[in-house]
């Protein structure tokens, strides 16, 4: 039976949320303008209105989750993003797999932030909340799903499947409810995908806070005062967004197959750029607080960071990237709406900023080379140029779309070698940045002239040279570019560590945010250099096969073909593919797939054999995501097993085939990363022609490439799955097949009932053979077997060593700690000033 209540309820709450957002915006603007007498009642009204908005926005989320959680596949959203086999924590990922869910998440975070702001601010409440409510109105409009004439406003997640598709089944039976959904994209079935999107969207949402303070400041003519309350939020936003980006990178590293953590994909660039601008704005805001310079730059940067987040959303979700990105978001018809959203806030912000421009205080005094303002300004500019370099080529598809919308033709394409193209700039910008942070920090904490600067830089300089030399010699870094990176990275770490130690000695840990974050930057730089610059593919094909044309031989074959059980040499290791495995509920290790047979129920299998102490033959085993196969790859050194990796692959018809995830062996100083790029498909084998063998007991014979022994036969008293009647004869033959170090027992069966012969062949999909007992020749004492071959199981695999990748991950953690410390310090300052009644 179709449940229409939840959907209608969800749709209703969406409408309420939309209307209440507009009402809140209006009410707060009235509250702001109202005289002393009316102020209180307007404030109460505004708040109530915002609470209603907050409640209804939360209820939208609850309704959508209810649909997914209770597997209501009559709804398009649940049908297309979820399935019965999904565990609960992945249902959470289903929630934001679709764009509508992502918008709901975003709106929800805005509500949370709004509630915090309402209760932490006095003066700023009204102007900030006007901006907030307007943004909310735009966001909620994305999921309104209202059609006015030909105009479709928003795409509702609460539409029924029968309204979303014109499938013929609904003509026959309008109440048809599909048994199961089409499932969640397997790439998103990962724990990082449960926490990465909410983090990223909290980052997105929080860029609104500094922007709202800025707009509030410009409207209320408090041109400079907005910075203090905005600053802790700007740092918070940079921290969360940075964390979201890192989680995304880590997710890509552990689940995607491109062999790394960062690919300069348009979608990645689109979040990286606002983050850089955000970081730049933090620096100029801090400078302004100390020395009343860089206000104009701060204003420009804060506006840019918010607009760039909207632009990123537009790029990713409007479908404009089309075939330029592997992250394919289909166009929901929201691009126009997103563009209006973007242009509205851009125009408002530019208008207000231009109007205020001549009233903005500027310092006439030229910043001295020995002033911190100078160095920070340079840093902010470098960050600006960095983002410019990334956003420009990333926007090429948008540029093409723009040209085409005016009737022109543009065939520009993004750079063919993205990684090389972006790296050659970003790397050197990062080097400049790292140097600026170390020098800048010294200027920051002390008044410095030429002499003291030289004095205070000598010690870190010498120490970092010594440490770098050690690293260069021990890790064999001989490329001049990489040597420069080690030097600058090390200098950043050492110089900032000096500052950190000095600060800790003199005052509290509260001031340490900056130097911590910069130490993190140095570590990230070195970590990236090693893990990417010295990443080495060890799965070079050494099969020695040659091709007809010579140029193909010269190309590096970075994959290696592994036949099952066959040892293959790969750099320092011998690797052996050992077959497919499944993950079962409550069993800490993988279970060989060949001893499990599907029961036809979702995620359920019958055990064909005993397996260790975990289950017995005939037991029902619960599987975790039955479509997932884990390919067991043994790594041996000196003929001793070192470790096994189990890269995952899922064959998913609904999602368009095969999806794979890597598995890594993690060492302290490197990762060994392995993934499956192609595999045997034995679902529907094309058996080759029959081969017949006549053998007697104990005889050795060759089946396909294997040596086989016929060990004899036995008459069966009972047979699984068959009831033997009086007079039936069942004979089971025992054939041992040897494949390298593996011995397999294949037992085809032969039944005679009422002079009729039945044959139960045995299929071994790992070896790719089918054997049936065709006949028994008693007079010759021979058995006749029919054998069909397909092909042995195999995987094509790639293995990469990534040295010192842990330095990168630790660096990011250090940087995030730095941000956190800074948030606390700045929020503390704000609270003190607020309580004095100044703000």
């Amino acid at each position: 039976m179709i449940n229409t209540f939840v959907g209608n309820f969800g749709h209703l709450t969406t409408l309420v949320a939309f209307v209440s957002a507009l009402v809140t915006a209006f009410a707060y603007s009235q509250y702001f303008k109202a005289n002393e007498l009316e102020k209180d009642s307007w404030r109460r009204f505004s708040r109530v209105s915002f609470y209603i908005h907050a409640l209804s926005t939360s209820l939208i989320a609850v309704s959508l989750f209810e649909i997914i959680y209770n597997q209501r596949y009559e709804y398009f959203y649940a049908y297309s993003h979820s399935s019965k086999a999904l565990p609960v924590h992945y249902m959470i990922s289903s929630f934001w797999e679709g764009q509508e869910g992502a918008f709901i998440l975003w709106a929800f975070w805005n509500v949370v932030l709004g509630l915090i702001l309402v209760h932490t601010n006095k003066f700023w409440e009204a102007p900030v909340m006007v901006v907030f409510s307007l943004v909310q109105a735009f966001l909620v409009s994305m999921i309104l799903g209202v059609v006015v004439g030909d105009l479709k406003i928003g795409s509702s997640p609460f539409i029924l499947l029968r309204d979303a598709t014109q499938a013929p089944i609904f003509d026959l039976n309008p109440d048809f409810v599909p048994e199961d959904g089409t499932g969640l994209n397997p790439l998103l079935q990962n724990i990082w995908m449960v926490i990465h999107p909410p983090t990223l969207f909290l980052g997105y949402a929080s860029t609104l806070v500094p922007f709202a303070f800025l707009i509030g400041g410009l409207v209320t003519k408090k041109y400079a005062e907005w910075i203090r309350p905005a600053l802790p939020w700007a740092i918070f936003s940079a921290m969360i967004l940075g964390m979201g980006i890192i989680m995304g990178a880590y997710w890509a590293y552990v689940t995607l197959n491109f062999g790394g953590y960062w690919n300069w994909d348009p979608v990645e660039n689109a979040v990286y750029v606002p983050w850089l601008i955000l970081v730049a704005s933090i620096h100029t805001m801090i400078t302004f607080k100390k020395s009343a310079t860089a206000l104009k730059t701060s204003i420009v940067l804060v506006i840019l960071s918010f607009i760039l987040v909207l632009y990123a959303t537009f790029l990713v979700r409007s479908g404009v990237l089309g075939d330029a990105s592997v992250h394919s978001f289909t166009d929901l018809g929201l691009s126009g709406q997103l563009l209006i959203y973007l242009l509205f806030f851009m125009c408002v912000a530019i208008f207000l900023a231009v109007r205020a421009w001549k009233h903005l205080p500027t310092s006439e005094r030229e910043a001295s080379v020995y002033s911190r303002e100078f160095w920070i300004f340079l840093g902010a500019m470098t960050l600006g140029l960095m983002s410019f370099q990334v956003i420009l080529p990333t926007s090429i598809p948008a540029w093409n779309a723009l040209v085409e919308s005016f009737g022109g033709i543009s065939n520009m394409a993004p750079p063919a070698d993205q990684v090389g193209f972006y790296t050659k700039f970003q790397l050197w910008f990062a080097v400049v940045l790292a140097l600026l942070t170390s020098v800048g920090q010294f200027f920051w904490w002390q008044k410095i002239d030429r002499k003291t600067l030289t004095e205070s830089l000598v010690a870190p300089y010498v120490i970092s040279i010594i440490l770098s030399t050690l690293v260069i010699v021990l890790a064999k870094v001989y490329d001049w570019k990489y040597i420069i990176i080690v030097l600058t990275g090390m200098f950043t770490i050492v110089a900032n560590a000096f500052i950190l130690i000095k600060l800790l000695k003199k005052s509290t840990f509260k001031l340490a945010g900056g130097s911590l974050a910069h130490i993190g930057l140095g570590m990230i730089l070195i970590g990236i250099m090693f893990s990417s610059g010295y990443s080495e593919v060890i799965s070079m094909n050494m099969s020695g096969l040659t091709y007809s044309n010579s140029w193909e031989d010269e190309m590096n074959k970075e994959h290696v073909l592994l036949w099952i059980n066959k040892p293959t040499q790969m750099k320092d290791y011998t690797v052996i593919y050992r077959g497919r495995q499944k993950k079962a509920v409550g069993i800490p290790e993988y279970v060989p797939a060949k001893i499990l047979a599907s029961t036809g129920e979702v995620n359920e299998a019958i055990a064909l054999e005993d397996y260790k102490a975990y289950f017995k033959k005939g037991d029902t085993v619960q599987l975790v995501l039955e479509e997932n196969d884990y390919f067991k790859i043994d790594y041996l050194q000196n003929e001793a097993l070192q470790f096994s990796l189990s890269p995952m692959s899922q064959y998913n018809e609904g999602m368009g085939g095969l999806i794979s995830s890597p598995d890594s062996k993690i060492y302290l100083n490197k990762d060994l990363y392995t993934y499956v790029a192609a595999m045997n498909d034995f679902a529907d084998p094309e058996w080759k022609e029959d081969e017949t063998y006549e053998v007697s007991k104990g005889e050795q014979f060759h089946v396909a490439d294997f040596v086989a022994y016929f060990d004899g036969a036995e008459v069966l008293k009972e047979l699984d799955g068959y009831t033997l009647k009086e007079g039936d004869v069942a004979v089971k033959a025992k054939i041992r097949v040897l494949d390298y170090d593996v011995e397999k027992l294949l037992e085809p069966t032969f039944i005679i009932r009422d002079n009729q012969v039945g044959k139960l062949p045995v299929i071994d999909s790992e070896l790719g053979i089918k054997i049936s007992l065709e006949n028994i020749l008693p007079e010759q004492n021979k058995f006749v077997f029919k054998v069909n071959q397909y092909q042995k199981d195999y995987v094509v695999m790639k293995a990469i060593v990534k040295p010192y990748i842990n330095v990168l991950w630790i660096g990011t953690i250090v940087m995030l700690c730095g941000f956190t410390v800074a948030i606390f310090r700045r929020f503390d300052e704000f609270v003190k000033m607020r309580d004095k009644g100044i703000e």
Partner: protein, 138 residues
């Protein structure tokens, strides 16, 4: 000249350098015909060609030849102008390759006969097609 101006000049110079290299390194969408012409003129920059896999009368993809070690393959791509071209890709066959509606190959002509793709982008059919609903439901 003031220091501020110097910095401004420096920034503008870097910005211009960025714009120029972006244009210089930007690839382009071509057809096989224009790609071959570019190659003959000595241009060996990687370009994008958008096309579809060659299909037989029954709508089955044809012309995919996997090398013996399964780590590379060739296939036939029909570009938007209808030119059919053999393309070599030095990677195993991507899993959903046969199903892709559209293929973008990024690379260049090796010689007159074969186009070598450094990278392949695939556009796969939307995962929920209207007619699929029934099949999924039963």
């Amino acid at each position: 000249m003031k220091k501020g101006h110097l910095i401004a000049l420096g920034i503008i110079a870097v910005a211009i350098a960025i714009i120029l290299t972006s244009i210089g390194d930007a690839s382009s969408y071509e057809s096989f015909t224009t790609a071959l012409e570019m190659r003959q003129e000595g241009e060996d920059k990687a370009i994008h060609v958008v096309g579809k896999l060659q299909k037989d009368a029954a709508g089955q993809v044809e012309g995919i030849e996997v090398r013996e070690d399964k780590t590379s393959f060739t296939f036939m791509l029909v570009d938007n102008e209808g030119t059919t071209q053999k393309v070599f890709y030095n990677q195993p066959v991507p899993a959903d390759f046969h199903r892709s509606e559209q293929v973008v190959v990024i690379g260049s002509y090796r010689d007159q006969k074969i186009f070598v793709a450094d990278k392949i982008l695939m556009k796969c059919p939307s995962k929920y097609q209207e007619t699929d609903v029934q099949a999924a439901g039963i």
